[in-house]
């Protein structure tokens, strides 16, 4: 019977591989973001499997602090990625809407001068 530590460490490596595979596979933002979170959970599981010291033993607190930091970093990266995705979708839908309005107004009013592309 393999030790609990090794079982959970291998589970962590498994999660990391599943997440990595899905990150490389998906193009869309949301599935890729979920895959990255799964990948992160795998690395965190490796850290905590290392810290485990048996049912009675005191676990090593340093990986616990590192993984806590990792969880908070992961949620802020997720929030940022979702904000970027939402902004891109808004720009795409605005473009489609302005495309539609532009084709209607093409006949009547003069076309609005192209706004200077201020970087």
């Amino acid at each position: 019977m393999i030790s609990t530590q090794l079982l959970y460490a291998l589970a962590g490596v498994g999660l990391f591989a599943i997440g990595l595979r899905a990150t490389l596979l998906h193009h869309l933002l949301l599935p890729r973001l979920l895959a990255l979170n799964v990948c992160g959970a795998g690395v965190f599981l490796i850290f905590i499997a290392i810290a485990y010291a048996g049912i009675e033993g005191m676990p090593d607190p340093v990986p616990h602090a590192l993984v806590l930091t990792g969880i908070v970093v992961a949620v802020s990266a997720t929030a940022m990625a979702l904000a970027l995705g939402r902004r891109l979708e808004n720009i795409k839908s605005d473009a489609i809407k302005s495309e539609a309005t532009k084709s209607e107004t093409l006949k009547s009013a003069a076309v609005k001068p192209e706004a200077m592309n201020d970087e």
């Binding site: 890729r32 992160g40 690395v43 490796i46 290392i50 990266a77 970027l84 891109l88």
Partner: protein, 483 residues
Amino acid sequence: MSNAIIWVIMIPLLGSLISIIWSRYASLIAIISNLVALVASTAVLMRVYQSGPFLHELGGWHAGLGISLRADALSSILLVMSMTVISAATFYASAYFTDAAKRARFWPLWLMLTVALNALLLSGDLFNLYVTLELLGLSAVALTALSDNRAALQAAIRYLSIGLLGSLVFLAGVALVYAGYGTLDLATLASLVQANPLSQVAFGLMTAGLLIKSALFPLHFWLPSAHASAPAPVSAALSALVVKVAVYILLRLWVDVFDLVLTLSSTMLLGILGAIAVIWGSWQALQAQRLKLMAAYSTVAQIGYLFIFLPLIAALPEGALQDAAFTALLLMALTHGFAKSAFFLSAGVIQQYCGHDRIAELGGTARALPLTIFVISLSGVALIGLPPSGSFLGKWYLISSSFQAGQWWWIPVVLVGSVLATAYVFRILGHAFGPGESIGRVLNRGREEIPALILALFATLILGFGSAELWDLVAQHAEAAGN
């Protein structure tokens, strides 16, 4: 004055916080905090130059329990370079952003990018490197997305997901190192690490993560679109600093911690990838239609040069020859930093005043923006590696050490790379000096052009002539690393 190492990180952080609250005075706060941080970083460099590398143990804890900040020759030189580029770009940005809302959004993130760069260059702890890499990645992506158009956002999203993947692969390596050696401090690790399977796999994972972050050839696809669509001061910082700092971590891990683990064949692989990056990057730069895209591909090429040095340093015997190659690597990195940031800043001026940066339609800009085109040609000199610039010395030593190491095949790569670089620089100048009436009157925008000029002069003159001190600083670093 060991506290200077703390002020370098804390001043920009406080500046970023205050600029969120008082967004009206953000430009002023940013300029002041970056200048003070620049002075503090030169104080750190002076201290390292006089009394060798020093350590600042945070929280008073030592021996791996706490985190220690480490300043030695390699990190303090890069620290001063990054602070100089950041300060010049800060002056530039205060005149570049005309729209008040966009300016108020830019400064807090820009100062957070400075904090991430300085914290990363000074960090001496593996997990701390992960956190600073993450902070650097997130602030760089946020700044890229600032230009709020479709291309920039798509580039930012790809840059973010690739960057997160790179950080997680790096963290997996850190986890394995902690599993095996039970410490995260680089100094204690340096004495513990031996060449066993765990170290090889852990170092392999960390290298893979850092190769993604430093955009070496097969993993560079996110770089061109991100650097080309970001605002000018941001792409200057991205190309000159963010990718180079990832190469710095790889070097530090390799030279200080994992030197027993690295085999010649793996450095040779990195060298070959670097060579392909040089050729492919320069070729793509030649094809690029826009100035900023060309500069981004030229960054991919220049990163390739840095990786060509690795097999040479591994093959050369310990001592003067290896130090010379190491110094040449540092010199190439510094020169490219200054030259590329000057190039991007002047490309920003052209973009703003000609309304576009398409190379084919650059006719007449030489008459309209004389100083900007002069700065572009100066940084072109440094990118190609013509004599007065630092990269001339860098390439010279690259060729001479590849002779000594018997790896002659790097020489044709360097020559082809330099010829292609000459081609794409003169393509720009050709169009710029050509006929055409893009803007009627002569423009000089001091606040935007002077910083770019200073950076370009750094790249060509100061690093070309004044690099003698660099040699004995690195020799001192070698002794420190040796004993």
